[in-house]
Symmetry: C2
Subunit: 297 residues, 2 copies
Amino acid sequence: MSFVALDWGTTALRGALIAEDGRVLDERSAPRGILHLDGASFDEVFEAFTQDWMAVPGSRCLIAGMAGSRQGWVEAPYCACPCGADDIARQVVPVQPGRIDMVPGLVDHQSGVPDVMRGEETQILGAMRLTGLRDGLFVLPGTHNKWARVADGRVTGFRTFMTGEFYALLSQHSILSRTLQADAPLHEAAFLDGVGRARQADSPGLLHLAFGMRALSLFDRLSPAAAASYLSGLLIGEELRAQALEAGTPVVLVGSAALTERYALALDSVGVPAQLLDAQATWAGAYAIWRARQAAG
Amino acid sequence: MSFVALDWGTTALRGALIAEDGRVLDERSAPRGILHLDGASFDEVFEAFTQDWMAVPGSRCLIAGMAGSRQGWVEAPYCACPCGADDIARQVVPVQPGRIDMVPGLVDHQSGVPDVMRGEETQILGAMRLTGLRDGLFVLPGTHNKWARVADGRVTGFRTFMTGEFYALLSQHSILSRTLQADAPLHEAAFLDGVGRARQADSPGLLHLAFGMRALSLFDRLSPAAAASYLSGLLIGEELRAQALEAGTPVVLVGSAALTERYALALDSVGVPAQLLDAQATWAGAYAIWRARQAAG
């Protein structure tokens, strides 16, 4: 029997009807993230969004994403790393018992400071399924990028980088916004220059390098069209600096083409090849959790 | 004969009437930075602000700060490091010949990317004069912090860190703003915890550590009152990580008490003592340039 999967994030709500064998039968999305319910209840938005899919008696739904946070529909406590599909399946939280379940996010308590994800765990499980990899580094670029290490089919640990949010803040609200053309297409040389400067082990760090963008502009050494790419390169280079990129470890990038291609370019410049996947990974991940639930009975 | 010194920045205009022997005879300020002229010309704002001081025939004025930038009154090209009071005095640019002169900013071309300052050069010269130091590390916290190395009375090089601007962006516009009480007093333990985490040589960097502030809040391990101090500590620790703090090098902090005391606390935690000076250093620096001009005839 088919089931419904939702990725209910902060700004968007995406859904798919998934067949018994994992094929995506139907798919839709709406600008109805948990901060954009426009006065409706979670219940109302859910029923309107899934009406036809859930009309069949006995239909079931699995929800991943921020809808399971404290600010969401029903809080699903974080599942602690290391953690695989079976652990996640065991810890789903019923929203409507026997009908709707909430997928927990992950927490990594292994460094002194906890790190958390919600929704990305499902994409990682999907990326494993789509690539057939059970070991590797899974990178999910976005507002809050996740770098997750996977071993033997389990997420062993991960770290979040606020790269996307920093880029938005700096390019829209900082002094750098004045000398930067935000909608310019990627300027590859400027991007890689930024990556190269920031990823050095002895880098003076982002607080200094970001000001360099302004100084280069002052001396007409960086055009507004190239400046956006340079800043993006600095941020992604700063992110790469923090990674232990071991030769031979497979790297999988999951996200929008615009972002994953940029990360692939940066990784390629340091000799690390990567596989690219899009948001379809979410449905493969939901299917993996679904199967793990069935296997557990 | 006395002279008038102005520090004409982006948001504020400060001025002093300075005696032949360097004493400050009178002082004032107005919210009339170069981006806040409210439709008046530089000329008009200048004459209104200095009217009584400049009324005496033969009165002269020295202006430092962003008024000498491309967006200012008259552009004074940057003076290249290494550079001392005599070089700066030689490169002042007349605004009204024989009456008003503009002090140049400094540029450091010694790394691959240029770095610039305007106004801080005058504070550094003043800090040298007030402390009697001709060698050391001079740190000017603010929106765009400057770390300048001084040897034999000359600024040999410097680096800018956008620490103040990043703090404003993150505490006001980022996801972190939701779990942070911006006006809370300094929470020393949280501040030093942030400094300690960020200043490590193997730090994963600000993009990751900043998200940790959010995760700590989620798990109720950081109160909103402590969170502001923790974030401030992360940023200042990140700045310290980039410095080669050699034992025995005198460190001088110039700026507002609130900021210099915070930096002194961070430096003290790594065993580096510092001397603190306030904005009066500007007038001592203007006097140093004034004297250097006279000496040059």
